[in-house]
Symmetry: C2
Subunit: 244 residues, 2 copies
DNA sequence: TCAAAAGTGTTCGTGATACACCCATGT
DNA sequence: ACATGGGTGTATCACGAACACTTTTGA
């Protein structure tokens, strides 16, 4: 018998076989109402809150698994994903919350159940258009919702640390890669974009400098239409130019 | 019976238990004779060449495992290590070379042997002082030696890709983090350091600009002693200043 | 007409680029 | 003396910081 072949249903979901000892945790960032948001799962019976995550099928590419996991929670396709760190400390895997969840779900298990073993987790962060996301709970966590980055509760295991590291990675990537647009809707003003940058970097930026910098990148396309609304000059709308 | 408990010796080494499906591959960079070098393992019977690598003990921190693996091959302690990417494509694990090695080592196995399963590998790069390294083979690979980065042979699995990605990471980190000094001996001239930078970045740098940039970082300490040797002005020796 | 925010012009300072020059040293 | 490479001085340019000014819009 192949000891890598599971002899039981591995979660409440299906009997599909996953790699053991390895997981994916996803920090899904969204931006709304001048605030950075993170998508979190909550298991209401026990109150455990955790990052969306999942496992890798035995014949699945790691990056495909990350895409699948984020797609399942958001309902989106073609998501911007970035691997940022592997969390591999032995002590990070406190089996207690998972055990509570198994008990509450009436999943038969003993202390050697694979979900109670030590896990190493690959951290991904995703940037999504907040307005397009339809959060979907999974079979274990019965709630999936946006949390303001400023008021994240105590999360399962080291997930608070993972979020901090994801944010740090996002900040350093922001200047090097051109990824902020993934957090915006198709059309946006430079003012909106500046607020996003200021929120992520947590500091004020100078408007003239910011505008020139963004426009000099040559990846923004000015849309002929203009904004309508308030008592001041109408800003231009821009869209990210796909044809580089 | 605990299916995670191995029922056999897992390598030729010892009976210690490793996590399955997860490995570490290390790109160990050295600098010598105006060339970037990489430490590679070669199994002479089959001619397979591979990156130094290893597995994670079931109760070991991931980063500790990386340190251990690099220490075992180099004989060094306190090595500069950086996690840079996780290689997780399903197709990356061609079992053929490992099978040949097992056969040549007279290790009993069937096709379900854990070393022949699919592996996801965490990539680390290490920066070491070439002159201090004493390369040590392991129980499987009977040679461990420096290879010029410009002439790397075809390696096992996707290890050539891993090296390329490590080099790319090293290049981007070079400007952001202050890590080049890990590749130098304790005392060095600015000329030496410039050659190192030029080699890594693969482009010429302007001497005056480079010197001012390095000195303006405020992390170099000029040593009173001077060089002795050739028919020109003696350059100053510097050392990396630990007291930032 | 005025307030508010968008967009542009201009000055200033820093740091990189590029080149010139002087310094120390062995042959 | 002189070739060789190390170290420094200096002019120029590019870019961001900082601020001023004009433009557009609704009340």
């Amino acid at each position: 018998m192949n000891k890598n072949e599971p002899s039981e249903n591995e979660t409440g979901t299906t009997g599909t076989d996953f790699m053991h000892g390895l997981a994916i945790d996803a920090v899904i960032f969204g931006f709304h109402d001048h605030q950075l948001k993170v998508l979190l799962m909550r298991y209401n019976k026990t109150g455990v809150v955790a990052l969306p995550g999942g496992f890798i099928h035995k014949t699945e590419n790691l990056n495909d698994a990350a895409n699948r996991i984020v797609s399942e929670r958001t309902g989106l396709k073609n998501i911007y994903l970035e691997q940022f760190y592997v969390f591999g400390d032995y002590g990070r895997s406190d089996p207690r919350p998972m055990k509570d969840i198994l008990i509450a779900n009436n999943i038969t298990h003993d202390d050697n159940h694979w979900l109670l073993q030590r896990f190493i987790s690959v951290g991904y962060y995703a940037l999504v258009d907040f307005t397009k996301v339809v959060p979907k709970p999974d079979t274990i966590f019965d709630s999936c919702a946006w949390y303001d980055l400023a008021i994240i509760p105590k999360l399962m295991q080291d997930h608070n640390t993972i979020i901090l590291k994801a944010l740090a990675s996002l900040r350093t990537d922001l200047d090097n890669k051109l990824i902020a647009f993934n957090l915006m809707q198709e059309e946006f003003t430079l003012g909106d974009l500046q607020i996003l940058y200021e929120t992520i970097l947590d500091k004020k930026l100078l408007r003239p400098a910011f505008q020139r910098k963004m426009l000099s990148l040559g990846i923004l396309e000015r849309v002929a239409k203009k904004w309508t609304g308030a008592a001041h000059k109408a800003p231009y709308l821009y869209r990210f130019s796909k044809n580089i």
